[in-house]
Symmetry: C2
Subunit: 230 residues, 2 copies
């Protein structure tokens, strides 16, 4: 179905895969519904190659994985996406052409088609509810593949760029303790070491940024002035 082709193209491109081959597409090729569903993944659809048989489609490949959710009685190794991805990467880096075969939405691949592959690829799912559709299976496998490429997150953490130093943390803890001391907080005196330690731990665990420490110090200064005359 065109919708499945489009959704698969979109899933692929999200994770950096572009080489799509179709075997005997039901409604011919090109397919308008595929283009509509692909939602901009034209980098995949524009270079689709069409073949008559699975055998033709993988003729130039050195390593092919066939996705299936059923045991086929074939003497092929069975691998999960997390195992397959590094193997695909290793082979690609060695110059091999690799392929992942997906069957049509309902029927999946025929056993004779799976037999063309070097191994069976299957996604471990909830044994009580396994109903991944074609595009969902493509997403999971493409995602796992992309982890080998190592895309960067779309943005960094403002937090990571700005973690306070130990000196800054000690500084604000000391400021707070001084303010509390002036306010007569440390009582009885023999508990003071424990109370101080708990305050230092609190400030340390708060994982404040320098800006947050400034914010906190400002609040302490204001509180030290006592209540505003009404």
């Amino acid at each position: 179905m065109g919708e499945n082709i489009g959704a698969a193209a979109r899933a692929m491109l999200n994770f950096g895969l572009t080489g799509m081959r179709l075997v005997a597409p039901r409604d011919g090729w090109p397919n308008e519904r595929a283009a509509a569903t692909a939602a901009g993944a034209s980098a995949v659809l524009d270079q689709v190659e069409v073949f008559e048989t699975v055998s033709d489609a993988i003729a130039d490949c050195q390593y092919t994985l066939a996705t299936t959710v059923r045991q086929r009685g074939l003497f092929l190794p069975v691998v999960e996406p997390a195992e397959a991805a590094p193997e695909l990467r290793r082979r690609a880096e060695g110059g091999q052409r690799t392929a992942i075969l997906f069957g049509a939405e309902k029927a999946g691949l025929e056993t004779d088609e799976v037999a063309h592959a070097d191994a069976i690829l299957t996604i471990p799912v909830n044994p009580g509810f396994s109903s991944l559709n074609l595009a969902q299976a493509v997403i999971v496998i493409a995602y796992e593949w992309s982890r080998q490429v190592g895309f960067e997150p779309m943005f960094g953490s403002a937090y990571d760029d700005a973690v306070a130093t130990r000196e800054q943390v000690e500084g604000v803890a000391g400021h707070l303790i001084e303010a509390l001391d002036q306010a007569g907080y440390f009582y009885p005196p023999d508990k003071r070491p424990t109370m101080e330690r708990n305050i230092r731990t609190l400030m340390s665990n708060a994982d404040m940024t320098p800006a947050e420490i400034q914010l906190f110090r400002g609040m302490i200064r204001q509180l030290m002035r006592g209540p505003k005359p009404s």
Copy 2:
């Protein structure tokens, strides 16, 4: 949208997650379209809890991740699914209640909603094409979470259950070499050690099962009889 709720429920249950909470669903709750799209994931939909605000929805949680594709200028750590999953597991095993927040399809979460979280969760995608929809994001994160649970593949490998022993491999190699010797294959005689070694490597690399070795031995026996009289 009901369709997104249903697709998310289905994605969750495929990977073993069942606790869904909705915040102010646009079309109320329950929702017929959600049930239709969920395609059997009633274990999720039947126990949906509905809240008025994000704050209410995560009030009893000890650790909340907010998914977003945009930098928000918040001083929150940014984690990827593969980092988040072991952290969620560690906390869950310690008895904590954890949550992952997803925004509505187009708009995503508001920055004030993200600010309720302990960290931002983002899926690294192709910087040239990042268009994961809500259900796709749920699938990737639920899949990564499920890897911590460690679902078994739906079926084992017939191959793994039946790898030939070294003795069986040596046996068939010896059988083949004997047949070739009778057929006068090893010529010139000084090349024989190399030719034999290549044959043993070929048979060893073939990774045959015991059944395949029997098949192969049967073929050798038949070929040794020579051409059938016509």
